[in-house]
Structures are given as structure tokens and as C-alpha cells.
């Protein structure tokens, strides 16, 4: 993978350890999965894998999360049966930030749900109770979403195929808005993406994301929680989008704290633009801190 100079120049300004960051982007991601508690349990999976002689490392920040040095985790009976779900570690974090809210929620929206990694995780946290509206704009991607919901035994869902900007008025208690983005945080998984990286795409994403976050906030019930996340480093798609919401709606940012994982706080300014001080409560997950992909998460309340 070749990292463009323009990319390096941008993130040198905000990353704590440039060589470690750029070096980490060149390394492959560890194989990771989540135990699907709708079908199995952590002890059972650990026992079965020990029987296979497959080494697992359990993440201290999420009991359901494991990495393995064995690349054939996908050829286990547990994967076939849906007891485990292959998922990048950082992609598990948005749902963890709303575990408490999800455990009592009756109506949840996963606004950009396909292929369903986070929908199935939220359903497991909810123990198949309540209702999740799993929406995706792309009908082509809904096939993968349905496949994963069925494989994991996720019953409490309704799949919809809307542009959420045109979604009818509703009052969701919890909304996950994991938006389409430039996916810089997934370069380790898909190095091809680094070749098509452009600033134009980042700015175009940012424009759309601002519309999506505003609409998602409007779909939230009073007292509800919205989690906004991306798998990119671009401040235009992260802090700037959440800042846009704060400028246009009476939204509050809740501090995200997860023990035993290294997260950095959101930045306060970018390209001479100052952001709302609340943005410091949002989090950035840099790949070199936990040997993962990259992510940005903001937890917003109404």
C-alpha cells in the first residue's frame, strides 16, 4: 500500500506518533470476531476453540471480542452456525457506547445498517427484545444484511430501504448513524481504498453526513441517544459534522468512556476552524494505539 503525501500531511497535524501511525497502516489487521450471544456464549466458544488448538486473545474492553492468529476462524463449526461473527474490533465499539440505552430500548434505528455487523451486535445486547429498524439506502446491500440477520438469529428487526432524509416522522429511543465515509480507517483491510482517496470525496461525504446527522437527530425521541460514527480520520467527516449538528440543533454531547482501550479525544480545531468545546467528549480510535482499524464516535443526546 502506498500512502499519499497529501494524506500524510493532513494527519501529521493531529496524530500523536506519526511513524507508528503510518507504519501501522501498512500492516494487515488481526483476524477478529465477536461471540454472538443470541446463539452461544463466551465460555462455550472459548472451550471449543481451545479444543481445536486455535489460540484466542480476549479483548479486555469487551468480553465478546476476540482476536486469533489463525486465519481459518471462518472454517469453524462456530462460524458456520452463527455462534461467532467475523467483525473488525473497532466496528464493535459504537454499540458498546450505548449498551445501557439498548438494554431497555423498545425502538431503535440503525440508519445505515448493511451488512449488519452492528445491527446484529445491538440485537444481541437487546437479547432480541424490542424492535430495531435496520435501514439501508442501498437495496443491493440489503441482501447481505438479511443474510447476516438470519445467520445470527436476529429476530427483532424490520428491514427498510429508505433514504433516511425522507423517512417519516418517528421517535426512536436510540439511533446508530454509522455513515458512509471515506473509510480511511479500513485501509489496513482494503488497501485499494487508499488508491482512490481524494479530498473531493471527503468534502462530498461531509456534505451528505451533515444532512444525515441533522435528520437522524430529528428522528430521535426527547431524551434519546444518537451515536454518530465513521471509519475515517477526516475531521471534515467527523468533528465538523457533529459541530454542524450542534450549530443547528439543541443537541448535547455525552462523554464516551470505555475502560481498557486507548482512545483519543476529538479535536477542537481543524484548518483554522474552531469547533464547539463539547467535541472534546467525542473519541478517535487510531490504529496504532490498539492494533485495530480507525474509527470516530460521537454520542449525542436530545
Amino acid at each position: 500500500m502506498r500512502i499519499l503525501d497529501a494524506f500524510k500531511e493532513r494527519y501529521s497535524q493531529i496524530v500523536d506518533d506519526e511513524p507508528a501511525f503510518f507504519d501501522c497502516l501498512m500492516q494487515p489487521l488481526p483476524k477478529s470476531f465477536r461471540v454472538n450471544t443470541l446463539k452461544s456464549n463466551i465460555d462455550n466458544v472459548k472451550k471449543r476453540f481451545a479444543g481445536y488448538g486455535i489460540n484466542l486473545t480476549q479483548m479486555p474492553w469487551y468480553d465478546e471480542a476476540f482476536i486469533s492468529d489463525n486465519l481459518e476462524v471462518g472454517s469453524t463449526l462456530e462460524h458456520f452456525h452463527g455462534d461467532i461473527y467475523l467483525q473488525e474490533l473497532v466496528s464493535m465499539i459504537p454499540a458498546i457506547t450505548i449498551k445501557e440505552e439498548l438494554s431497555n430500548a423498545r425502538l431503535v434505528l440503525d440508519a445505515c445498517a448493511a451488512p449488519g455487523s452492528k445491527t446484529t451486535q445491538m440485537a444481541a445486547i437487546m437479547n432480541n427484545k424490542g424492535t430495531i429498524v435496520a435501514n439501508d439506502l442501498s437495496y443491493a446491500r440489503i441482501r447481505a444484511l438479511r443474510f447476516n440477520l438470519e445467520k445470527t438469529g436476529t429476530i427483532n428487526t424490520v428491514i427498510t430501504n429508505y433514504d433516511i432524509r425522507r423517512m417519516s416522522k418517528n421517535q426512536f429511543e436510540v439511533i446508530l448513524l454509522d455513515v458512509p465515509c471515506s473509510a480511511e480507517g479500513t485501509f489496513r483491510k482494503n488497501s485499494e481504498l487508499s488508491k482512490i482517496w481524494t479530498m473531493k470525496q471527503i468534502l462530498s461525504n461531509s456534505h451528505l453526513q451533515k444532512q444525515l446527522i441533522t435528520k437522524a437527530f430529528d428522528l430521535l425521541a426527547p431524551g434519546g441517544t444518537l451515536v454518530y460514527s465513521t471509519c475515517t480520520f477526516a475531521p471534515e467527516e467527523n468533528e465538523e459534522v457533529v459541530n454542524h449538528l450542534l450549530e443547528n440543533r439543541d443537541a448535547k454531547i455525552e462523554k464516551i468512556e470505555i475502560p481498557d482501550i486507548h482512545m483519543s479525544w476529538g479535536i477542537e480545531e481543524w484548518n483554522t476552524k474552531q469547533f464547539d468545546p463539547q467535541l472534546k467528549k467525542t473519541v478517535r480510535i487510531w490504529p496504532h494505539h490498539n492494533n485495530t482499524g480507525g474509527f470516530y464516535i460521537a454520542k449525542v443526546t436530545k
Partner: protein
């Protein structure tokens, strides 16, 4: 739907011994081509959904349970369960039909059965004499290396 729902619940109970009580928290939804989905009880007013919950059965002249259903609710069953050997489980995951020994079929009736391996409920098969017709959808087939 209540007529179809009752037929399905009766079938699950009669065929597998799965009590209707286990479905109380969910609702049944009838879709096109006789497909029956199990989903949440409450659906918000959001227009026409693409689908609700998971596909659990197909109804035409008979009722055909799905692998989705039997993997989740098969743990409540007490009959028409066939235990497979390691080799047969690999064949099943691969999508092949399976030849059973007389011992494996002595407590089962012809028709749809639950396939299991070491207490893992694999899914649905159609038992004809001593042969299991594989009902596993193509997308779910896999080469098992660890089991």
C-alpha cells in the same frame, strides 16, 4: 395470519415437540410465496418494510421449516432429531445429501428433521427412507475444517 400461525405452531409442536410458548415474545408475518417470518411484536409506522425478522417456514401444500428456525428453536425439540457423525456434518455443511445408518433413523419419522452434531443444532434436512435431502441454502454452505 392467525389461521396460518396456528397451523405452523401446531406443526412445530406435533413434528418436533417445540411448544408454542417459546414464540410468545414474537409475531408471525406472512409474505409472498407462502413465506412466513418471525419478527418483533411491534413494528413502527415506517411504510412498507423490505422484510421483518427471519424466515422460519414456507407454506404451500405442506409446511417446510427453515434452518434459521431449527438452529434457534431446535433446543426445545424432543423428537425427529438426527445426530450426524463428523463426516456427515462436513457433508451437510458442504450441501451434500447424507446416507444414514439404520440406527440413526430408528426414532424418526419421514419428513423434515433437525440435524445435530455434538449438541450443535445444524439445521433442517428432509428424511426420505435412509437418505437426508440437504436443505441448506447455497449461501450458507461451507468447508468445515474445525468441528
Amino acid at each position: 395470519m392467525s389461521k396460518e400461525k396456528n397451523s405452523i405452531l401446531d406443526y412445530f409442536e406435533t413434528r418436533f415437540g417445540i411448544s408454542r410458548n417459546h414464540f410468545r415474545e414474537f409475531e408471525f408475518y406472512l409474505a409472498s410465496k407462502g413465506r412466513v417470518f418471525l419478527g418483533p411484536k411491534k413494528i413502527p409506522a415506517i411504510g412498507e418494510p423490505v422484510s421483518v425478522g427471519i424466515l422460519i417456514a414456507r407454506m404451500d401444500n405442506n409446511i417446510k421449516p427453515t434452518t434459521n428456525l431449527l438452529q434457534l428453536f431446535g433446543k426445545y425439540a424432543d423428537k425427529n432429531i438426527v445426530s450426524l457423525t463428523e463426516q456427515q456434518t462436513k457433508q451437510y455443511a458442504h450441501g451434500d445429501d447424507i446416507k444414514l445408518s439404520p440406527e440413526q433413523t430408528e426414532k424418526t419419522e419421514r419428513g423434515y428433521v433437525i440435524l445435530s452434531y455434538c449438541n450443535v443444532l445444524l439445521g433442517c434436512g428432509l428424511l426420505r427412507e435412509s437418505l437426508i435431502k440437504n436443505m441448506l441454502p447455497k449461501a450458507k454452505r461451507s468447508e468445515l475444517k474445525f468441528m
